[in-house]
């Protein structure tokens, strides 16, 4: 069976792979969104957090012999800890400044972090093996898919919607949203808003790192792996907007799917399809009149 000249199996396969790429986009843009909401900072170093998550996983396995499952917790926690230090030492100084300085400062941070990893590990990619029970392929009736990729998709959906649920449907989330709107008022209730900001930053970073751990067995682990995904995540965020969590989750998955579809029909353009969609969305949407 064929759809517009492409075998159905191939089409479904590419869509599935696209959806799995999309799960990384969704996790990263969700973290970016949460950080922006709370800190008013577009975290350029977000891709580096993802890279560090993957790298720590590889390092834990390579130097200490710690497996995938413990790494799934240890690596994001380590990155979250680094993020706390970064927030307290540098990012905190930005809050009184214009947005663009946040972007520029985190850009500098990304350069430093990537530079350090490059100095020790150069840019070549490293392989990380898939954990024992997730090897092999699963039969989905219409196609065979590597079990590990299915796990990535599942984990990402759970984490994304779990985060959404916490922010939108729990008391903690309500406090968080209140602190975004009126930090002054919320602090009069005895809530430590600066600490909340720090923890939000580290949570967003940990989310990116978790994405990195999930990515380690699929993509080559390299200091540059964060840069390439960051470009795409920015496009996702421009399309979905930084204001809505669901927008970034669905935007991430949808654009991954689109990338997969393009790969099936016109592989050369797959890489830039997301950017083309971004331009179309920009043309069709109402333009900002007042600078935000």
């Amino acid at each position: 069976m064929e759809v517009f000249g492409v075998p159905l199996n191939l089409l479904l396969g590419q869509m599935m792979l696209g959806l799995i790429n999309g799960s990384f986009y969704a996790m990263l843009s969700l973290g970016l969104c949460i950080i922006f909401g709370m800190l008013d900072v577009v975290n350029f170093a977000h891709g580096t957090m993802y890279m560090m998550g993957a790298f720590f996983t590889w390092m834990l396995g390579h130097y200490l012999g710690i497996g995938y499952w413990p790494s799934l917790i240890i690596a994001p926690l380590a990155v979250a800890l680094i993020a706390i230090i970064i927030e307290i030492t540098v990012v905190r100084k930005l809050y009184a400044l214009h947005h663009v300085y946040g972007l520029l400062l985190t850009f500098g941070l990304a350069l430093v972090i990537v530079g350090i990893f490059r100095a020790f590990y150069s840019v070549s990619g490293r392989a990380y093996s898939i954990p024992e029970i997730l090897r092999g392929a699963t039969d989905l009736k219409f196609m065979y898919i590597p079990t590990y990729r299915l796990w990535v998709l599942f984990a990402s959906v759970v984490v994304c919607f779990g985060t959404w649920f916490v922010v939108e449907r729990t008391r903690l989330g309500a406090t968080l949203r209140a602190a975004i709107e009126r930090p002054d008022l919320v602090s009069t209730f005895g809530i430590n808003v600066p600490r909340m900001i720090t923890l939000t930053f580290s949570f967003g970073a940990g989310l990116a790192a978790l994405g990195g751990v999930l990515a380690a067995p699929i993509f080559p682990v390299s200091p540059l792996m964060g840069d390439s995904i960051m470009l795409i995540v920015f496009a996702v965020v421009v399309i979905g907007g930084l204001g809505s969590l669901l927008g970034s989750i669905f935007g991430g998955f949808a654009l991954g799917l689109l990338e997969g579809l393009t790969k099936a029909y016109y592989p050369e353009a797959a890489h830039i399809s997301i950017f083309i969609v971004m331009m179309i969305v920009l043309l069709l949407s109402r333009s900002d009149v007042i600078a935000k």
Partner: protein
Amino acid sequence: MTSTNSRRTTLYVYVGLIVLGIIAPFFVYPMVLMKIYVFAMFGMAFNLLFGYAGLLSFGHVVFFGTAAYATGHSVKVWGLSPELGILYGVLLGTILAAVVGVFAIRRAGIYFAMITFSLVEVGHFIAMKLPLTGGENGLTQVPRGVLFGVFDLTAALVMYFFVFAVFVLAFLMIVRIVGSPFGLALRSMKENESRAISLGYSPPRLKFQAFVLSGFLAALAGSMKVMVYEFASLSDVHWMTNGQVILMTLLGGVGTFLGPLFGTVVVVFIEDYMSFLGQSVTIVTGAIFIVCIIGFRRGLVGEMPSIYAKLRNRFVPRDKTMSTATARPFATAWHSQRGCSSRKHGRSMK
């Protein structure tokens, strides 16, 4: 300090710098100086947009690179003379800037930066795939040729003075643009967009014009780059190059005329000095970024008046000094304050 007095000081500084530029190639390796001029020109293009219109572009490297490839290709393959090749490259880069501008200015602030950043990826990808760019190998062995049929650019000094002349012209162009009613309108829009609208200005149009002008200058820098280096490569359309130019401008002083030049001088020398670090030199550049933003957002040139005032305070009796606030002919007020969407009451998630 009266305004005529400060104007005279500025004039002395410019004349001094031009004299310095004329004698410099006899003391410093001309290639280093030409590198400085090319990237300072690129920095001035970026600065026109960021410093005076408040638009942070990560995408100017696309116009820079397009012009570099176009000029290089037309000179090498079509055998155009240098002046025609540069004209062709700049024209193509400017047209591209106009096309990109239509998309980019539809979003403001942080979104603008992200859009331009994403567009670099598209440009980089196209440059990698197009056969005429030579892909990973780049476009090499671009002949410098004979300018206007008179000046043989293969001679290092002739090339130097050509680049220097173009740089001075570009600098004067920036001074002219910023001082013009258009420049004032741009700055008013940056300071308070709502009020600019209420005065009858159209921000989208102003932004678009500034974007194209700035793209034109970036393209000019790109065309000069290929003439100087005699090659164009994928790094000419890589976001890292753009990041470097942002750093140069930031370090020198955003929104100052001389900032990009000073910043470029410092960064070029740092890079030469730190070349043993190889690609990890980004550790140093990134650290400078962070220090600049936390420590001195007005940059070297921007901070100079207040340093000067501090020194005066030390040596001149207190009652005769002026306050630091009046002693900032170059700096703008924007850097120390938040934009209109500060953490005010009722701010919603954007």
